[in-house]
């Protein structure tokens, strides 16, 4: 048996919980899709079968996790987990409202900030090099139609 306080750090338990949750939500959403019959399958047939499979495997893993200790290896790297996706989101927003260069510079700085070894000068240099390189390659080389700067919506 896995002690209750270790469950949230148990690979099998967490994986099982995830499959179970996704499967359950997928089944619940698929209620709106007609199932049809095996002869004439509706849009709900395939998803419900798949979600069912996921729920079954989810329960199996969940039970195994409760029965046997199976701790997660490695760090949860909370800082990177939050900052790195955020960097991508900022890039997305700035591409539409700020232009290619601001988006890229912010992306490089924000991603670099997700590491514990952030060094300002180093990041500044790589941001400049990357920006010049990308503008050359993507905008002039491949001809992607993005404005370098734009102030729309800002």
């Amino acid at each position: 048996m896995t002690p209750a306080n270790e469950l949230l750090n148990n690979k099998r338990f967490l994986a099982g919980l995830m499959f179970l949750a996704i499967g359950a939500v997928a089944i619940w959403m698929a209620q709106d899709y007609p199932i049809g019959s095996a002869l004439r399958m509706g849009p709900g047939y395939f998803p419900i079968v798949l979600s069912g499979i996921m729920v079954l495997f989810g329960i199996y893993e969940l039970v195994l996790g409760i029965m046997k200790s199976d701790p997660v290896k490695g760090n949860w790297s909370i800082r990177a987990l939050i900052v790195l996706p955020l960097a991508a989101v900022l890039f997305g927003i700035l591409m539409e409202h700020g232009g290619f260069i601001p988006a890229l510079v912010v992306l490089v700085f924000a991603s670099a900030a997700s590491s514990n070894e952030f060094k300002f000068m180093e990041v500044l240099i790589s941001a400049v090099v990357l920006t010049i390189g990308s503008v050359g390659l993507f905008i002039y080389g491949l001809g992607l139609p993005y404005p370098l700067f734009s102030l729309s919506g800002m």
């Binding site: 004439r40 849009p43 949860w76 790195l84 991508a88």
Partner: protein, 498 residues
């Protein structure tokens, strides 16, 4: 003579200046990214995929194949020099390659890896040219039940042979299939799992899933782990193995090629199985098995050849049947679809220049890698010295620009960020993402063929067992599951995949 005619057509396409250039760019970029520690061929291809969108389908595929081989070779370089495998198949190369590097023989290790890969590539190019057309002809007779059973077999094989827990792999496959369902249902026109976003009615782009999981998720995971590497750089001088090395390596390379080619044509088996098998065979037949793990050149030559033979022969089921035989091939087929070509047995007859051009360029690409790596090894080595904290923002920049350029919209970027977070959790929970990607690409195809099969049979599910070819695939699928359930093999499997 048909064969020669086809090969000549192929080389006439592959050897045009334009395609040679794309092949070179592919090999170069593939090696460049593949050398980066912790990035396997899958992430490399996913990241570089968007830059192939703007060129013609033939050139795009040639470039992608170049990226694929380059990434694989780059991965071996990293395995030998830093002991950091980019993917599971390179783990075997670490055993003896890294030991060779420590003994100051990094050059011969890198050289024999390139020579072995080139030999395997040459043999497999011939194999594809020989067996591609008859297989495609056979595939033209496949109906919906055959396709469904074949895909099921591929998915199950991929899942049970994946790294780690079988139940998790199968659940990940189901999740992948489910993600593939997202979007408008072709039969009823109903939007499924679109959460009210019009962007999702077209489905999730596979580049989004691949880059999110294999690039972003991987970076988050790497940032959590403390970086430790020791690069054996000063010692890479002479790349050419000695005559003695070549003599010892000859039979391992031949055996490795056979093993790799065998596993290569089976859908679902990853390159790791081929290279592990080759390593074990070499250790068994060797006169001095105690040298393995201490810098035996056979331990590099065999698995590296097997690895490349497997990679190349994966094109056989992929191109002739239109069914991706591995996660990497799923990306290739995705690229084909983006170029407006429906993958399948008809590609060979309808687009002979594309098919044979690609096959010829595989050989050209392999040759290029041998030539490319001799003068450029210094560049790869210096790249390995760049600290990860400088590399990963560049990877992010490249990935994000690539993703944005697919649809010129930020929606894909946000989705990628979500898949990055998910990918990180999957890595930590040891849920293998490769079966998920395979399922994701096969999802719509499988649903369509299941529907059609049951429509033909009037709802009778035994149709999968009453048609001989389909029945064969089904029996194979069941056998694989049963075999893997046997305690003896289960133990062995754990030894091999972990």
């Amino acid at each position: 003579m048909e064969l020669f005619h086809n090969l000549i057509l192929g080389f006439s396409v592959a050897l045009t200046l334009q395609n040679l250039w794309f092949c070179f760019v592919g090999c170069f970029l593939g090696t460049l990214i593949g050398v980066l520690p912790g990035i396997g061929p899958l992430a490399t291809i996913a990241m570089l995929l968007p830059i192939t969108f703007n060129v013609s389908p033939t050139s795009a595929l040639i470039m992608l194949a170049g990226i694929y081989y380059g990434a694989q070779y780059g991965g071996s370089t990293t395995a030998i020099l830093v002991n950091l495998p980019g993917e599971t198949s390179a783990v075997v190369t670490c055993f003896d390659g890294y030991q060779m590097a420590r003994q100051g023989r990094a050059g011969p290790a890198l050289g024999i890896a390139a020579i072995g890969s080139f030999f395997a590539g040459t043999v497999c190019t011939m194999l594809i040219a020989l067996f591609g057309p008859p297989l495609a002809e056979m595939a033209l007779k496949f109906g919906a039940p055959e396709y469904f059973s074949l895909m099921l077999m591929g998915l199950v094989t991929a899942a049970v042979l994946a790294h780690g827990d079988m139940a998790k792999s199968l659940a990940m496959t189901a999740l992948g299939l489910l993600l593939g369902v997202v979007g408008t249902d072709v039969n009823s026109g109903m939007a499924r799992y679109s959460f009210g976003y019009p962007e999702l009615t077209d489905g999730i782009g596979f580049v989004v899933v691949a880059v999110g999981v294999f690039a972003m998720g991987e970076i988050i995971s790497n940032l959590g782990d403390k970086e430790e590497r020791q690069v054996f750089t000063s010692k890479v001088k002479n790349l050419w193995p000695t005559w003695q090395d070549l003599k010892i390596s000859f039979f391992p390379i031949v055996r490795g090629t056979c093993i790799g080619a065998f596993f290569g044509v089976l859908p679902g088996t990853g390159p790791a199985i081929a290279s592990f098998s080759s390593y074990m065979v070499e250790k068994k037949v060797s006169k001095h098995p105690e040298m393995f793990g201490k810098g035996a050149i056979e331990g590099v030559a065999g698995p590296e050849s097997a690895n490349n033979a497997d990679a190349q022969c994966k094109f056989i089921p992929t191109l002739t049947l239109g069914i991706p035989a591995s996660a990497v091939m799923a990306l290739m087929l995705g690229a084909l679809t983006i170029q407006g070509i429906a993958p399948g047995p008809q590609v060979m007859t309808q687009k002979p220049d594309l098919f044979w051009g690609l096959i010829a360029s595989m050989w050209v690409g392999n040759a290029m890698l041998v030539l490319l790596n001799l003068p450029m090894i210094g560049l790869w080595v210096s790249l390995l010295k760049v600290p990860y904290r400088i590399l990963f923002p560049a990877i992010m920049a490249f990935s994000c620009i690539g993703i944005y350029s697919i649809n010129n919209s930020s929606f894909e970027i946000y989705l990628t960020a979500i898949f990055g977070v998910l990918g990180f959790f999957w890595l930590r929970l040891e849920c293998p993402p490769a079966p998920l990607l395979l399922g994701f690409v096969l999802g719509p195809l499988m649903e369509e063929n299941l529907r059609r099969a049951l429509l033909i049979s009037r709802g009778d599910a035994t149709v999968f067992f009453t048609r001989p070819i389909s029945c064969g695939f089904m029996i194979a699928t069941i056998l694989i599951i049963l075999l893997m359930g046997l305690p003896m093999i289960k133990k062995r499997r754990e030894q091999i995949v972990d």
